[in-house]
Symmetry: C2
Subunit: 326 residues, 2 copies
C-alpha cells in the first residue's frame, strides 16, 4: 500500500465510466470516508463534466472533509496522461477535452488523469492479490473490455500513453462491428454488450425465460446480474454464451501471456464478479489451450479484489504517488 | 552503437537457427573480421553443438584473431538467459541443454545466451533504423515467426525470461497445427512453411509453374527466393498466398500496437527481404484496418536493415554490454 500521505491528508479518487460516475474521498490510509455515484446519462442536457463535478461535491459533502491534496481520475481513453486531456471518447461526448484542467480549476487542487482501466489495474496491483508482481496484466470485461499493464513494477503506457487496448485486439477478422468502428475486436465478440445481444436472441426465442421475465429483450437491460441469474437457473444456452465469451477473453489472455510473460493476470468487471468460477474457469482453460506451456505454467490467473472500487482507489493511490514525486 | 570494447578487443556473435548456424568475429567497432556459416542439419549423426563449435572455430580461423572477449549467442527458445540453458528446442534436439557452459568450457571465455529473435531485435535496435526508439517490436517471419520486444529502452523478457512469442499468438482458433502442438498459431498460418505448403498445392495443380520448375512440390525446397521469383513472374495465386500471410502477420502487428503502443515495428526475415514492398504493404494495410487510429498514427513500420546479420551482430553487442556491466 502506498504511504505517501500523512495523517490528516485526504485524497479523492474518481472513476468516469460509460455507465457510471463515481467519486470516493480517502483518508491517508486509503480508507473511504465519503462517496457518491451516479449514472453517466450521456446525451442528456447536462454535460458529463458538470454531472461529474456534482458527484465529486457530493462525495466531499458526505466525507465532511474541507480540503483534499488532489484528485486522481480514471477515464476512458485515448487520453494524454501528461496533460490530462481526453483525446476522443464518443461515449462521453468528449473530444480534446481538458478534463484535468477543468477539475483543477473547479476544486483548486492538482488533478492526475489516466486511463480508467490502467488505474483499475494499478489499484488491484497496489491493494489486491498481485502486490508482489513486477509484470501484471489486468483485464476488465464490462460494457467494453479494457486492459492495463504493469511492466517491471511500473504502469506501462507506451509511446502514445495509450497502451493496453486489449479490447481492440482483432480476434475475429471480419467479425461483428465494434464501437471503435473496426470489425472483430475482442470487445465486439465478448463484452457484456455482445453477450447481452446473443442472450436477447435466446430470450426472444424462448430459450432464456428468466432473462425474458426480468429484462425483456432490451440489451441495455440484460446486465451481468440477470445473466448470472439465468445461468444459476439452469438456462444452459445462456451459460454457453457466457462460456464462449469468457473463452474468447481467455484466448486474448493466452496471447498476452505468450507476448508479455506476466506473473499474473487479474480479471475484473461485472461479469467476472457475477460468475467468478465459471468465468475464470473458461479463461484458465483457454490459457491452457492457447498459451505456450513454459510461459503459462506459473502464471496466476486471479479475480480482482476491489470490485467497483478498483479504479477510484487506484486513481487516488496514483494521485498520491504523483504528489510524492514517485 | 555500443562502445563497450577497446581497440584490439574482439567479440563473437553466434546465430543458432533451425536451418543455419552462423558465427561472426567482430572488432571493437563491430566490423566483421571473420565469419562462417553452415546448414544446421539436425537429426544427423553429429550433435548440433559439435557442428556449432566447428562454425565458431572456422570464423575464428578466418579472422586470424587469437583471443576474444566473449561469445554472444542467439538461440531458439525457450531458454534461460541467466543460466544460458536451452530449456526445450525440439528443432535442435536440445532439452535442458547448458549451451552457455558448453561453449564457455570449449573456448574459455564468457558466453551470454538469449533468444535469437530477441537478439535480432536488439541488433536492429542498436545498429538499424530504430536506434532512437524506446519501445520497439521486432518480428521475423521465416521458418517460424519470432518476435522481440524493447520496452523503455531495454530488451524485455518478462517473468519467465521468454516473452515475445509472437508466432504463437493464436490467430485462428482451431486452425492448422503449429510446430508447438497448438492449433491456429500465427506461425501455423503465416510462416514460410505455411506459405510453402499452400504454394506447393498451387504448383501441384499447375498454378505456380515457376515454382514447379524450380522446386517441385517439396515444401522444404520452396524457399523465399523461389516464392519471390514466382510473384515477380506474375503468378498471381502465389502472390495472393504471400499477401494473405503478410496480412495475417499485419493483424498480429496491429494487435501488438493496440497493446504495447510502440514507436516502431521492425520486420525482417527471408520473406520480407525477398519481397519488402509487397510484404510491408500488406502489413501496413492490416495495421490500418486493425489498430486503433490514435495508437497507429505515428508508428513506423520499417524493414530490418541487417538481414542475416541481425542476430549475430545483436548477440555480439549484447555480450559486449554484459561484459561492460550494462
Amino acid at each position: 500500500m502506498p504511504k505517501m500521505l500523512e495523517p490528516g491528508d485526504y485524497i479523492i479518487g474518481v472513476d468516469v465510466g460509460g455507465t457510471k460516475l463515481m467519486a470516493v474521498v480517502y483518508d491517508h490510509k486509503f480508507n473511504p470516508v465519503g462517496r457518491s455515484r451516479k449514472h453517466t446519462k450521456t446525451g442528456k442536457k447536462e454535460p458529463v463534466e458538470h454531472r461529474l463535478i456534482r458527484v465529486i461535491r457530493e462525495a466531499l459533502e458526505e466525507s465532511k472533509v474541507d480540503a483534499v491534496k488532489g484528485i486522481g481520475v480514471g477515464s476512458p481513453g485515448p487520453l494524454n496522461p501528461d496533460t490530462g486531456v481526453i483525446i476522443d471518447t464518443p461515449n462521453l461526448d468528449w473530444k480534446d477535452f481538458p478534463l484535468a484542467d477543468t477539475l483543477s480549476n473547479e476544486f483548486g487542487v492538482p488533478v492526475a488523469v489516466d486511463n480508467d482501466v490502467n488505474l483499475g489495474t494499478y489499484g488491484e496491483w497496489k491493494f489486491g492479490e498481485a502486490q508482489d508482481c513486477r509484470n501484471l496484466v489486468g483485464i476488465f470485461p464490462g460494457t467494453g473490455i479494457g486492459g492495463g499493464i504493469i511492466i517491471e513494477g511500473r504502469l506501462y503506457r507506451g509511446f502514445t500513453g495509450a497502451a493496453g487496448e486489449v479490447g481492440h485486439m482483432t480476434v475475429q477478422p471480419g467479425g461483428p462491428y465494434c464501437g471503435c468502428g473496426k470489425r472483430g475486436c475482442l470487445e465486439a465478440v465478448a463484452s457484456r454488450i455482445a453477450i447481452a445481444a446473443e442472450v436477447a436472441k435466446l430470450a426472444a426465442r424462448g430459450d432464456a425465460p428468466s432473462v425474458l421475465a426480468d429484462c425483456g429483450t432490451d440489451i441495455g437491460k440484460i446486465r451481468s446480474g440477470a445473466i448470472a441469474k439465468a445461468v444459476a437457473a439452469g438456462e444452459t444456452m445462456v451459460e454457453g454464451v457466457v462460456r464462449h465469451a469468457a473463452y474468447q477473453v481467455g484466448i486474448a489472455v493466452a496471447n498476452l501471456i505468450n507476448v508479455l510473460s506476466p506473473e499474473a493476470v487479474v480479471l475484473g468487471g461485472g461479469l467476472v464478479e457475477a460468475m467468478p468460477d465459471l468465468y475464470l474457469g473458461e479463461v484458465r482453460q483457454a490459457v491452457k489451450d492457447h498459451a505456450m506451456p513454459f510461459l503459462r505454467k506459473d502464471v496466476r490467473i486471479i479475480p480482482a479484489q476491489l470490485a467497483d472500487d478498483a479504479t477510484v482507489k487506484g486513481a487516488a493511490a496514483y494521485m498520491a504517488e504523483v504528489l510524492a514525486g514517485a
